[in-house]
């Protein structure tokens, strides 16, 4: 009985959806149970977005959807039909690195690099939210993005440099 119910997604059909990813319109067909994260990584070969837990605990899968940072592992791709999505691959413009990407390199704000795309996307989203002014507030609002290598101080240094640069402009 239960088995029959939960096996429903298996026989369900692919849904057609349209996503604007890094400025490019992509039309694709995916089953409703495909997360936005797996859609990016497995269906669109955009592997810059990382899977660290698949449960919204680590932040490695953070992408920007319609200007807001979200966890792509907790989002089904079909929920975002018509949305505009920016991934780490689309952060830089015209071959130029985004200031945060540069700052991350300068401050050695990563070691293994696996949490890095999520940290950068999350920081872009956080700066856009405009709530964090001080270093303490930035640390608090970046705390959904775990770093196991222990690059934390360098990550916050990089973000502060960019945030302060924006405020001073």
């Amino acid at each position: 009985m239960i088995t029959e119910n939960i096996s429903t997604p298996v026989i369900s059909h692919k849904k057609k959806l349209s996503l604007t990813i890094n400025g490019e319109v992509k039309t694709l067909e995916v089953k409703p149970w495909v997360s936005l994260l797996d859609c990016l990584r497995e269906h669109l070969d955009l592997t810059g977005t990382k899977k660290g837990c698949d449960h919204g605990q680590c932040g490695a899968c953070t992408v920007i959807v319609d200007g807001k940072r979200i966890l792509s592992c907790l989002t089904l791709a079909v929920m975002k039909d018509g949305a505009s999505i920016t991934t780490i691959e689309g952060i830089g413009k015209d071959g130029e690195l985004h200031p945060l990407q540069k700052a991350f390199i300068d401050h050695d704000a990563f070691q293994c690099g696996y949490c890095t795309p999520g940290q950068i996307c999350s920081a872009i989203g956080m700066i856009a939210e405009g709530k964090a002014k001080t270093r303490t507030e930035v640390k608090e609002l970046m705390s959904g993005n775990l770093c196991r290598c222990g690059a934390n101080t360098n990550i916050i240094d990089a973000i502060m440099e960019v945030q302060e640069g924006l405020t001073n402009e």
């Binding site: 939960i6 070969d45 449960h55 830089g92 293994c112 705390s143 775990l146 222990g150 934390n152």
Partner: protein, 753 residues
């Protein structure tokens, strides 16, 4: 390759410069591809099914419902496993402890909770994960034991084996400890309890196996040893060594978890060979708790000191968990006598085999466990004697390693103490516990000493002058985020007198020159020395070629009469006599000049010395007086680790170790429910590691330390030493703040209330 660092000064030696990671561009743009990101065509997805019981037998596996779903390809389990390697030894990898390595799907026996017992392969990841839930398994359960504390009386001596080469047993007793301790006017003792920890790199363990035809595979694996995995796969699946290629260009953290081949590798290769398809197996976060871990350990210390402040009796005993099939050991109790020259010692290290998976080296294995007990007991003694804890360390400073009676190849620990204390402002400390406050917070200062052995293993490197007159170097070594690519490129550039942008270093491929597993802080010393050896041999080949040119001005020149600088070989006597690398290549018929060489530790010279990196950590904590909440507000770690090749990446290694220290002392622990024999917090919401908001002011000092003995480069490694001193310094600072000495890690606020 990224654009060169703006601070890089090509006119100066690259070694010693703070150069940004060469792979930085790839890592910040998402271009870096990790093991699970090679999207080869025709890919199948495997999902592992784990045992839900702790010990017993599988009675039945029913795969009918799962295999009825279109898109499900096959379920592999012990009943349909193809014939594989017969002997236990064939499953032993380079890091296998004494015993019989775990063999996935070998039979119906369950040895631990979470044991992988089947692999479901399907056309998509979602389908594999879902269909795995439809596989019906029945078990017969048996009694089991997983509780170290409850079974502590079963402790026994560990079995010896090859591993004891890198992990020596405790030193033999010296003098008469019991008598000396009894007669000591000052005595301190403690029982220290550490829980289980899991490495939890953010990247999940993944293998993508590309089927290359009969008996041939190319494997993208998450590992700290490409050659180690190549060896394992060849042995287990009976393939030719050269038909197995393991590639790990980027590794999303490992911290020891990749030192041994993990089970996703076995399953991915098994399925690929059987199905003749490309197969990816990715573990989920829950499954990241179903292989190696830092073992829970109980330690007992008794230190005695004489009236003049000298420690004269040291007793340190440890009892650690291991599995029933392998005797995993760590060096826990060998450190105190390396640091403090007592005349009477007694050290013991024993194991309790339990129904768990074998433990596995995790950042600063053994050292970060043992030093907590040693340095907190030292702190306790200092308070009893009313001597400043730093002064107490200086009174007991070991000029040589008394545990083996040998001098240190170099030891600038005194400078670590002094420079660390100065930077931290240790002199502002009021010696009385509970004497310093900030509002409703108790403030405490604590310090501790760190030590980690400086090792070198045999390694090989290949060095080539390319047709463009540039240098290419390669090694099978991985870069797990430590900065290996950058550091090796720096070493190579200086050896051949080249700019960094004229050097390429490729790595992370078992086809390349042999490298040992990447761990133990020995990678720079091992692979760096191999690069030096290969470059030295290359220089001789260049000179030989130069001599062969008609009318060569180098005809009578010897290798010690030339230098290699500015992309040329130059005569020392007459700098006007030189030949550029491009001209050498032209003279060689536009063919490359290559040399592949081994570097071995100079065992006979080295055995006269002890070799170790040292550190001193100084920590300030705030403890909320009512709520007990602990905050590490600032910390300084001063490190003496020989030559620092790249201060920028080395500093990050130490910072990482310091954040791991906060995690170890205050956060992380896998908690077992011993009624079920399983971990209860198998996810990274409930397995706590520090978040950005937990991390405050951290400072790193590298103390100047010259070492001509330890290896050709004078390096000691920095991967572990950042996690050696700071956990006890945190515990000591909490004592200073609150007057309570808590010897159980992690320290939770409820113990302070």
């Amino acid at each position: 390759m990224s654009t060169m660092e703006k601070n890089y000064k090509p006119e100066q030696p690259a070694v010693g410069q703070s150069i940004s990671r060469l792979e930085g561009y790839e890592k910040v743009t998402g271009a870096a591809r990790y093991a699970g990101e090679f999207n080869v065509s025709d890919l199948l997805y495997g999902y592992v099914i784990n045992s839900t019981i702790t010990k017993g037998k599988i009675i039945s596996i029913n795969t009918e419902k799962a295999e009825a779903i279109p898109g499900v390809v096959k379920v592999f389990h012990h009943k349909n496993r193809p014939s594989l390697a017969w002997f236990s030894m064939q499953y032993a990898d380079m890091d296998a402890p004494p015993g019989s390595p775990f063999q996935p799907l070998a039979d119906h026996k369950i040895k631990y909770n979470g044991q992988p017992i089947a692999l479901l392969v399907a056309e998509s990841f979602e389908l594999a994960r879902y269909a795995a839930t439809l596989v019906e398994i029945t078990y017969e359960q048996e009694d089991f034991k997983t509780d170290l504390i409850a079974n502590i009386t079963e402790a026994r001596a560990p079995k010896g084996g090859l591993a004891t080469f890198l992990k020596p047993p405790p030193p033999k007793p010296v003098g008469n400890f019991e008598k000396a301790y009894e007669n000591s006017p000052f005595q301190a003792s403690g029982k220290f309890v550490h829980g289980t920890e899991h490495h939890n790199p953010i990247e999940l363990f993944t293998t993508t196996t590309v089927y290359k035809g009969k008996g041939k595979v190319t494997i993208y694996d998450k590992t700290q040893g490409t050659v180690n995995c190549q060896l394992y796969v060849a042995n287990v699946f009976g393939l030719h060594f050269k038909d197995v290629r393991v590639i790990s260009p980027y590794v999303g953290g490992a911290f020891g978890s990749g030192l041994r081949p993990q089970y996703q590798l076995f399953f991915s290769v098994l399925a690929a060979l059987e199905l003749k398809r490309n197969v990816r197996v990715t573990l989920d976060r829950h499954q990241m708790f179903t292989f190696g871990h830092r073992p829970p350990t109980v330690q007992f210390t008794r230190f005695g000191a004489s009236a003049d402040g000298k420690v004269n009796a040291l007793n340190h005993e440890a009892i650690a968990e291991t599995s029933r099939f392998e005797d995993y050991t760590e060096v826990v109790v060998n450190w105190s006598h390396m640091l403090y020259p007592a005349k009477n010692t007694l050290f013991k290290y024993n194991l309790v085999p339990l129904d768990v998976f074998s433990p596995l080296d995790m950042r600063a294995p053994g050292g970060s466990t043992g030093l907590h007990a040693i340095e907190s007991t030292m702190d306790d003694l200092a308070y009893q004697m009313k001597i400043d804890p730093l002064e107490f360390r200086l009174i007991n400073y070991a000029e040589q390693d008394e545990s083996v009676g040998r001098p240190y190849s170099s030891k600038e620990l005194r400078q670590c103490y002094l420079q660390g204390a100065e930077q931290f402002g240790w002199n502002k400390r009021n010696p009385e516990p509970r004497s310093m406050r900030r509002g409703n917070k108790l403030v405490g200062y604590g310090m501790a000493t760190g030590i980690w052995e400086a090792m070198q293993l045999p390694a090989r490197a290949s060095a080539t002058i390319t047709t463009e007159g540039k240098l290419h170097v390669n090694s099978a070594v991985t870069d797990i985020g430590t900065g290996t690519l950058t550091v090796m490129s720096q070493i190579a550039a200086d050896e051949m007198g080249l700019h960094m942008d004229d050097v390429t270093f490729t790595y992370g491929d078992s086809k390349m020159a042999f490298a040992p597993i990447q761990g133990g802080s020995f990678t720079v010393s091992s692979v760096g020395s191999a690069i030096k050896a290969a470059c030295n041999a290359l220089k001789k080949k260049i000179l030989k070629k130069a001599k062969s040119i008609g009318n060569s001005p180098f005809k009578r020149v010897k290798i010690d009469e030339v230098i290699f600088a500015d992309r040329k070989m130059i005569s020392i006597d007459n700098p006007a006599v030189f030949i550029s690398y491009s001209d050498i290549i032209a003279a060689n018929g536009h063919k490359v000049i290559k040399s592949v060489n081994f570097a071995m530790p100079k065992v006979f010279k080295l055995k006269k010395y002890s070799r170790a990196a040292h550190s001193a950590a100084f920590v300030e904590v705030e403890v909320d007086e009512e709520l007990g909440i602990i905050n590490v507000t600032r910390a300084v770690t001063a490190v003496a680790a020989g030559k620092i090749i790249n201060p920028k990446t080395a500093r990050s290694q130490i910072l990482g170790g310091m954040i791991w220290s906060i995690s170890k002392a205050l956060r992380e622990e896998s908690i077992t429910d011993h009624r079920f024999g399983k971990y209860m917090n198998m996810n990274i919401a409930e397995y706590h590691i520090p978040v950005h908001a937990d991390i405050h002011d951290l400072q790193v000092i590298f103390v100047e330390e010259k070492d001509d003995i330890v290896n050709e480069l004078g390096t000691k490694g920095v991967g572990e030493i950042g996690l050696a001193a700071m956990p006890p310094a945190i515990a000591n600072a909490i004592f200073h703040a609150t007057g309570k000495r808590v010897n159980q890690f992690p320290i939770h606020f409820d113990t302070l209330m």
